[in-house]
């Protein structure tokens, strides 16, 4: 570079700076609101990509808002991360977390109600969701969570294995007795290692609440202040599960939540109980003819709801809270709800989602997709309690203790009840 040209450059510099400054002011005016979304994954399949697609589309249709979707691990890890960020004064804006966390999120004063975040706007759309999901989402007349990846537990079964065992592939077990007998027949017919798997190392409390409900008992009170873990009906239900293991209908010891879908897909187990959120993954990967059905009934049919809601964090920045609530609403709109349901198997959160053309076409081609939704007719609420999961952790431990034979169902559940009472005492005042 010659000296002359360097001089010329130096003369130009102030101009260039002025231009840059002007540009950056312009850019700042158009700076999008940036929202951080934390989301967990509890099922198989490439869900992060689908999430990125959704947030990209939101940005395309709402240029003023940019959503950074951050995959934050399991449900528990996601809560840990959200809480740590909240304590550090940098909470996420939108959180997808388990529906059972509502009590804890409110006890810690971490979230805002949609009616408050969207003050002045019409919020009648909050009435569009299935009631079964809203019992874990509304409190004190306000909406705190929007159903997003909500679920029920369904029964997946390998029709080829049914045929091999001489069972009718269109008649999955509909009672506890049938479940036990068929599981044993399937195992004895060979080909599969086990007739049935009900996971217990993770979400064991949730799966157990299905058995308890079928035996006529809701394990928690609607206000999240009382647990009924050692009710005789719960003891009976746990005894039934333990007896399944003793008879060899399910594997001995605790059964992995994470590998159960894999075991089913690889044909190692003929039937499994797990979330409907695994449906699309199983459909894509299973190389055999499979079916899904509602869970069997005992005194009554039914399943607890499960899965996660969209929560808006209390950031103190009302503009951001509003933007976050608008984004969350959009995520729960029928089109997105249908898309997420088709991509995963989770239940579409509203009837409107099932009325979209995409969903109608999907259900027509794959009727199994509505089994979990139809099971909502016999729902019980998710296992939400105050006290940051300590009571349900004690229940999970008790279930594992009984299943592995270290305690009787009664002993185990009495212990869990004692812990739960201790934890919940201060909320009952």
């Amino acid at each position: 570079m010659s000296i002359a040209s360097r001089h010329r450059l130096r003369a130009l510099a102030p101009l260039a700076f002025a231009a840059l400054a002007a540009l950056s002011t312009l850019a700042r005016a158009a700076d999008p609101v940036e929202l951080q979304l934390l989301f967990p994954i509890a099922v198989g399949g490439p869900l992060t990509q689908i999430m990125d697609k959704l947030t990209a589309r939101y940005h395309a249709t709402h240029p003023g808002v940019e959503v950074k979707a951050i995959y934050s691990g399991t449900y528990d890890e996601t809560m840990t991360k959200a809480r740590a960020q909240f304590k550090a004064g940098q909470p996420p804006d939108v959180l997808i977390a388990s529906a059972v966390e509502l009590f804890n999120l409110r006890d810690l004063d971490m979230i805002v109600a949609y009616e408050d975040a969207l003050k002045g706007s019409d919020t009648s759309w909050t009435k569009r969701f299935y009631e079964a999901f809203m019992v874990n989402s509304t409190q004190d007349g306000k909406t705190w969570g929007l159903p997003f990846q909500r679920s029920t537990i369904i029964q997946y079964y390998n029709k080829d294995a049914f045929r091999k065992a001489g069972l009718d592939p269109d008649h999955p077990p509909a009672t506890w007795e049938e479940l036990r007998d068929m599981a044993l027949k399937l195992r004895d017919a060979g080909g599969v290692k086990f007739g049935l798997q009900i996971p217990s190392d993770n979400f064991g409390d949730w799966l157990f609440s299905a058995l308890a409900w079928q035996n006529g008992l809701a394990l928690v009170s609607p206000d999240g202040k009382h647990a009924y873990f050692n009710d005789p009906r719960a003891v009976e239900a746990l005894q039934y599960w333990v007896d399944l293991g003793k008879a060899g209908a399910v594997p001995k010891g605790s059964v992995s939540w994470a590998t159960t879908p894999k075991d089913f897909i690889e044909g190692k187990v003929a039937m499994m109980w797990t979330t409907t959120g695994n449906l699309t993954n199983v459909r894509k990967q299973a190389k055999f003819d499979f079916g899904v059905s509602p869970l069997p009934a005992h005194r009554q049919p039914g399943s607890p709801t499960g899965g996660a809601n969209l929560y808006v964090f209390k950031t103190g920045d009302t503009a951001k809270e509003r933007a976050a609530a608008e984004f969350a609403k959009w995520m729960s709109d029928p089109e997105q709800a249908a898309e997420w349901s088709i991509a995963t198997g989770y239940v579409g959160s509203s009837q409107a989602a099932y009325d979209t053309p995409a969903m109608k076409a999907y259900v027509a081609s794959f009727p199994a997709a509505v089994v979990a939704r139809d099971q909502l007719a016999h729902y019980t609420r998710s296992l939400g309690l105050h006290g940051n999961g300590r009571a349900t952790a004690a229940l999970s431990d008790a279930i594992q203790a009984a299943l592995t034979g270290t305690k009787t169902p009664k002993e185990a559940l009495d212990g869990a009840q004692k812990t739960a009472d201790g934890v919940l005492a201060r909320f009952q005042k």
């Binding site: 809560m79 290692k193 594997p251 001995k252 059964v255």
Partner: protein, 304 residues
Amino acid sequence: MSRTSVIAAGAAAVPGTAAARARRDTIGGWALVAPSLVVIAAFTLYPVVLSLVHAFTAPRGGVTLQQVHAMVDDEVLHKVFVNNLVFAAVTVPASIVIALAMALWVNGKIRGRAFLRLAFFTPTVLPMVAAASIWLYFYTPSYGPIDRLLHVFGLPGHNWLGTPETALPAIMVVTIWKEAGFFMIFYLAGLQNMAPELEEASRLEGASAWYHFRRVTLPLLMPTTLFVMVVAMTASFKQVEHIFVMTRGGPDNASSLLLYYIYKVAFTFYDEHYAAVLTLVLVATLLLLAFLQFRVLERRIHYR
């Protein structure tokens, strides 16, 4: 830090201009340690103080012993504490013995020595989470490699991680597998430093290989053993990543260790105060064990 003040104190005794220089030295000294001091204060001292404060205050303020009382009734805590003691009592000696055996083996003049050393060291290089994921697959009931091998011999499979009796042992195996290669390196270094004359002398005296090992090699390796033992003991209380991956502490806390339980209390149950007390218990346990090790072993060590 203490050395700086000693220098400063010594210098201050000199009168006149020397005093000014001493002051300069003091300032310079403090300036030199300041960066580490800030880091230690922020990431060690502050958390220690905070843990102490949290441990003895109630969630809603006020001094209390309620967290200490809670420990007495906490059956899960008793279980994980015993688990951790068993875990340490098995993994520490086992990984030390295996490490020593491997070091003696690859120290000899054998074929493929470099390859063997590398093979033994590989588990150490792996992140714990990766190692745990591999073993999670090994332990998979009915179609994991271990159960498949059992099937070949006509033995029934086993739910290794899902049965209370085998969950903790299964995790101990992973720990030993991972740690032994690391400790081997220290023993190998110790062996390489040993004068070859010692072995020649033993041979001339007609001592057997076992006698030489027992009376010469082993005593000379004692400083290494002490170091390895303290490191292994600390690790047995500090490493919990594999529990997250493999069992989540289950079934019914059968494979839960103290630090994993502290994590659960602090970050799942959000009980910082109780977690703080548990942390103090953990630190006290570690200090006590380290103290005992130094006391007992120091007398039997010949430092060269």
